[in-house]
Amino acid sequence: MKKHYQDLVKRLMLTIFLSMVYLCAFAQISVTGVVSDEKGIPLIGATVQVKGTALGVITESGGKFTINTSADAVLSVSFIGFVTQDVPIGSRTNIEIRLKEETTVLSDVVVVGYAIGNKRSISGAVERITSDDMNTGYVASPLAAINGKVAGLVISQNGGNVNESPTVRLRGLNSLSGGNDPLVIIDGVYGSITMLNNMSQQDIEEVTILKDASETAQYGSRGASGVIIATTKKGKEGIGNLSYSGQFGYSQAYKRLEVLSGAEWRDLNTNKFSSSGNDKGASTDWQDWLGNDFISQNNHNLTFTQGTAKSNMLASLGVNSKVGQIRESDNTTYSIRFNGSQTGLGDRLKLEMNVMAFYTDRHDPIGGIWTSALNYNPTFPSYRNLTTGLWDFDPNASMATHPGEASEIEDHTENNRIMPSARASLTIIKGLTLSAFGSFDQNSTIRKQYTPNDHYAQLSGARGSASVTNTFDRNWLGNVQLTYIKEIGKHSINFLTLMEGQSYFTYTDAATVTGFETNVPRYNNFRSGSSVTYGNVTSNAVMYNILSYMGRLNYMFNNKYVVTINARTDGSSKLGANNKWGFFPSASAAWLLSNEDFMKNQNLVSNLKLRVSYGVTGNQNLIQPYNSLELEGPSGVTTYGGKPVVSYAYQQNENPDLKWETKYTFDAGIDFTLLNSRINGTFDYYKSTTKDLLYNYTVAVPPFVYNRLLANMGEMTNTGVELALTGEVFRSADWGLNIGGNLAFQKNELISLSGTYKGEELTTPEWIPLVSSGGAGHTSNTNVTYMAEGYSVGLFRLPVHNGFITDANGKKTYDFVDVDGDGTIDQGDNADREIQGQVTPKVTASMNIQLRYKRFDLSTQMRGAFGHLIYNYTSVSLNNLNQFPSYNVLTTAPGLSIYQVIHTSYWLEKGDYTNVEYITLGYNIPTSKLKAISNARVALSCNNVVTFTGYSGLTPLINTDPLTGGVDARNIYPLLRTYTLQLSLNF
């Protein structure tokens, strides 16, 4: 594999080098000119290009430009929102060009799933973000580039851990089985959120979001949680174009939790705790000690394109390097991408090829390290004991990991991924295209971990532990597609039919060896560990296949009425023998009101489209294969005939009736453009119902052997409203101001989680716990969030605070309301708890502002979430003096004098926030005098400028996924404020 990479890199470098040689321009005459709009207002930033070449300039202040070219050349002048104009130079040396405003920008080509449509003929809820619209701050990934841009798309990062992928939810929670990540398609290949998080943002040309079933039904089997389609940049016509873009960022945590310093700890220990704590005399700020001094973030991308009318290619190299907040943690991704296309047979045949490859190298801190940084005894030194050579350890603090030891535990992951794909399209007759597409995705990960043999728990136990986990994913996709696009008079038809097959295979192996006398070889020589235990060397292979047939018809009459019908049928090997196939149809209609005659005589509305859609999508994504089969797996070692043998046992209740989880979605929307295209907006209402919810139901034992059964039973609905508006507030030669914003309301309800299975009624407990949180000394039921029929998923349901009980010594414990009135306080799931609120924000909103003055531009984005709560377990556990002096506490703890850690609504706080995501100041450097550079821009930006919130913890920007989020449990890293210098150059 490695050799392949080296080869690929070599060839790529050679291509780039050779192409550079061609990069020379020859000048004959110098032409100057001014570009303005129809009213004569100069346009800054318009592109003036010599047609058929890569030679071009950008207009400066006053709309002026200078270009060197030959007299017989033709200038092509373009600007966003204006019709591109070709101007022959002739004998002129000074040219004035007036661009005509584009009356409609709706003819843009949009990738809608498998289909290529245009904005006009779309009848579903589809949003498109082009590279120009993306975020401008420190942007480390395509996900960061679109965050806040789409109403209803929530990308939540859990605090400031750079190694953690964000959670992405489109229109909320749709499934309980975990298949809630939107489907990610990158150039036709099924990708993943992780991949979108690792790619270079500069590689992305545009991102299309499919929200409603009208179009997600194209991906029937996987479309239930929405679809994100990313299209990468492709080679352009022209001799050659090399561009560089880079970001250099420096980050710092802008809020820290204040725990007792060594001196404060000592003071409390002496005065209130009879010096019963283990005082080692030092004063260590573990948060500071564990933090990296210089948290840098670097991101560079080099792209080369060249092309002719018949063929083009693009090659890009990227590196994205992030240093983590915790010592020794970092994450570097190198990516290379190549794509090329060639037409033949008199343009009837088009061949395209695309290869993406990634190498990621990361070091992760061990889980719980941040908790240890907060609660480990600050009088312990931050270095090994000079006499023993070991870390001083407090055996009473058995629930914490020593931060010093934790920092020495190695967790190193390397990932190689290569994704080649190719497409051949043949135009049979005009409008009728047959294409075949194939892709292969090989993803191999190796994770290596080592715990040194001289750590406290290792000395008498494992004496060093090394482990390696290898994962190989191999996915094949192939499809054949027939497209027919035809306009006959007032009828416009876009028809597509497709057959697709996919095969997923995953192989994992893992080994753990313990008993090391030396820490030198670590995982590099497993023979240096003395002990291997049965079950510590494992492997596993899993495969599943999906087969699909799809048809889509998009029909438009008279540019006014649009109908789209999709029908897809999918078969999945994961499901029961009789239920493998699911049918996922959808239909949508749109009315382009603005094209009606009665709308002709007005200037207010230039575009008005009403849309309505209904459709069905399916989900089986995250369920494991083989759940429908009765299987036996290894269950342990026994002796037979004097030899050790492995026995097999039935390990799960099988469900031969397993079938597709299906989601029915209704969506109605309006798209409008007002005031001469200065205001654009979209409004959507949707309601979806997910039926046959796949869930691991609790079942009765007996008759079942195990108390869990994966089955389809429950039902859930999601309702929401989304509004997006962008407006051009002001525009002149020197000034421009654009403001955009979006707003989404979302409501989820779990209708039912019961039903019949093989004629037997299956029900679930009334309150099903989701997230629990506990730790040293926690004195009760650890459940925090729940789900229940009739409510939204992800509810806070905690014992209700009723003041404090103060004893004779002034020590406080929490008092609770006796909710069920039975005379006792019981923290049980069904007892003295009340619903307090939800994990997921009810409203998410985002606003961005772009201000332009001559060559300067200033942009900012704010994003907010409202109507949800956060459980501050950090405060609950770190304000508990009961665990002092074995564990450290917050500086607020002595004053509060609470001697208990127990779940209480007291620390449930409002999660509302508004975060100023970034402020970017950019400057387009004049390049008319520079021969080698055609375009240059520098920008300075600050990310996470400030968070407006009433939340008292580190940051309200935590995971808000209803199934897994809502609790700030001492493990959330501080949010990082990042200062970035960005540079982009076009040669």
Binding site: G461, S647, V699, P702, V705, Y706, I902
Partner: protein
């Protein structure tokens, strides 16, 4: 148009490649049932041996590979009078579950009981599956060994039903995998008892002779005829309890003397036909002990070696769960759970500072109070030292433990509050008693110890086999049976046999209290205390550690006297009732 048609035909042709095989699943890492039983060796491994591998969470001391030690064990031993988990400065409060367990303050939502219920019926379900698979192979003309396996698995299933009747009393009897949920209904306690009795009496003659604890035999860890006799001895000794469909009328409460005559007379009237002869319950116990003696089981000289590494093949052991570190059969978590952090670190282990012996336990073993904080254990039963860590503590190198807080397990318990905070004010950190005792109060279990060769971080893996049945228990059961059947002289002889092995002074007389005490001394913390106390009528009674007004965790209930005795039977877990509405709750809950 022709081209369109051609294309459509092409697509249709491609579509036909979609042979149905593409959606067939091919498991790589697991095997189908057919494969699992395809050879005689596989049949044995995947039915009999596989079932023993699944017997994790239940029985004496051991537990499955989870962090918390056995849920079953926790209720059998720590709801009795000899052990408990106090709240240690807020640690080990866990919502009051441990304190409620000790105080019998549980209810149907108590999560431990659900785990125990599910584990019992998981084993029953797996046994039923195996029996059906074997029966099918036998019907198809397989060898006679298949029938032998079926008997053995039925015995294992009977063992789990014995646990079920012991704990939950009224339970469903399910003997087939195709049982519909609508037919899963409870039998009465006596019906379940009779089912177990009939199964065992039918099966025992068919079980193989052989010494189960001997690694050299093919029967290592399996149910042999000897194990069968011990099983039925346990069933018979408890049969007056199990055969009674009423238990909440006070018949099992009020102390030793209040209950003795009911149990004794009831046992005389209960008839069990074993090996062709009908005997009463007490005669059956004596008959079984005689069978075991005839098979060569003895009291081995060194009491402590019964539980430590090297107990393989010990001639006192009747049934063990084979254990070793490299194949990790079952974790032994008790040393981890019981020892204090600092002490465990010095004796080569990892401590969680949990369960300790009670004050009642210290008194039982012969501690004499000599002052405010001082007790004299010099004349205590020799098994005190053999079973518990107490007093000043030393590490394996002989160095004394220095924790920074204290260096002695206060074994006396007088100052050991049931919960340190917040209800008990003398535990203020200014108060030396409180400060020391809370973290170091209560003697800790020493019967099982850390395996010095353990490679697990928490030192829960061990080469010591986990003991289920041992001959000293059989002797004490026989002593009790002699006594209850009117032969006190023989009872005294057997008790003194057990005492002589550890060098304890012989008893001169015997009564019911003496038998219960002897069982406590010999079998402390071996998971028999709950059923013994129920049989002797002391399970619900107050002790030195639980009484009205005893300080307790603020999240647990206060101790209250269960005079009618409903807590001698556990509630049917609420989740089980919710999921199967045919089932009803036991009285008193």
């Amino acid at each position: 148009m022709k081209k369109i048609l051609t294309s459509l035909i092409l697509i249709a042709t491609l579509a036909n490649f979609s042979c149905s095989d593409f959606l067939e699943e091919t498991p790589y890492s697991q095997i189908s049932e057919q494969e699992a039983y395809s050879t005689p060796t596989l049949v044995y491994i995947n039915t009999v041996a596989s079932l023993y591998n699944e017997t994790g969470n239940i029985g004496f001391f051991g537990d499955d590979q989870g962090f918390a030690y056995g849920y079953y064990y926790r209720n059998q031993e720590l709801s009795g009078d000899l052990g408990m988990i106090p709240g240690r400065q807020g640690d080990w409060v866990d919502g009051g579950i441990h304190q409620n367990n000790f105080f019998h303050g549980w209810n149907a939502s108590f999560s431990d009981f659900l785990t125990v219920w599910n584990d019992i019926y998981k084993m029953v379900g797996l046994c039923n599956r195996a029996i059906e698979r074997l029966q099918k192979l036998a019907d198809e003309g397989g060898g006679t060994y298949l029938t032998d396996y079926i008997y053995e698995i039925r015995a294992l299933r009977a063992y789990y039903y014995m646990l079920a009747v012991n704990n939950f009393a009224r339970v469903p009897i399910v003997t087939s995998t195709s049982t519909a949920m609508s037919t899963v209904v409870q039998s009465t306690r006596s019906q379940v008892y009779e089912f177990v009795r009939d199964e065992l009496t039918e099966i025992i003659p068919h079980l193989a002779a052989g010494r189960s604890p001997d690694p050299a035999t093919a029967y290592y860890g399996r149910i042999t005829q000897d194990v069968g006799y011990m099983m039925i001895a346990k069933l018979a000794i408890n049969s007056p309890v199990y055969a009674s469909d009423t238990w909440n009328d006070g018949r099992f409460t009020g102390g030793v003397s209040a209950v003795e005559s009911y149990i004794t007379n009831s046992g005389k009237n209960i008839k069990i036909t074993l090996d062709g002869t009908e005997r009463n319950a007490w005669e059956t116990v004596i008959y079984c002990q005689g069978k075991l003696a005839a098979s060569g089981y003895i009291l081995t000289p060194e009491f402590r070696k019964l539980f430590l590494v090297g107990n393989d093949g010990n001639k006192e052991l009747i049934w063990v769960r084979p254990n070793d570190k490299t194949t990790i059969k079952h974790w032994q978590s008790l040393p981890l759970m019981t020892t204090n952090y600092a002490h465990a670190a010095v004796i080569g282990g990892f401590g969680a500072n949990g369960p300790c012996a009670t004050l009642e336990c210290a008194y039982l073993f012969g501690g004499i109070k000599t002052g405010d904080q001082t007790y004299d254990f010099s004349n205590a039963d020799p098994r005190w030292d053999m079973s518990f860590w107490w007093g000043p503590l030393y590490g394996n190198t002989g160095a004394r433990v220095a924790s920074g807080i204290s260096e002695a397990y206060n074994p006396y318990g007088e100052y050991l509050p049931f919960d340190a905070l917040p209800d008990y004010n003398t535990t203020d950190f200014g108060d030396l008693k409180g400060k020391y005792i809370v973290k170091w109060g209560g003697a800790r279990l020493r019967k099982v110890e850390f395996d010095p060769g353990s490679i697990n971080r928490f030192k829960v893996d061990t080469d010591a086999d986990i003991v289920v049945y041992r001959y000293a228990d059989a002797l004490l059961l026989a002593a009790e049976a002699y006594y209850r059947n009117g032969d006190a002289a023989n009872a005294l002889t057997l008790i003194n046999q057990v005492r002589a092995r550890v060098g304890a002074t012989p008893r001169t007389s015997v009564d019911a209290q003496a038998i219960l005490d002897e069982r406590g001394l010999e079998l402390a913390w071996e998971s028999w205390r709950r059923e013994d106390q129920i049989r002797f009528g002391t399970y619900t009674e107050p002790t030195r550690d639980k009484y009205v007004g005893c300080p307790h965790a603020n999240v647990s209930v206060a101790w209250s006297y269960d005079a009618e005795g409903h807590t001698t039977v556990l509630p049917v877990p609420q989740n089980v009732l919710n999921l199967n509405t045919n089932l009803t709750q036991n009285p008193g809950y």
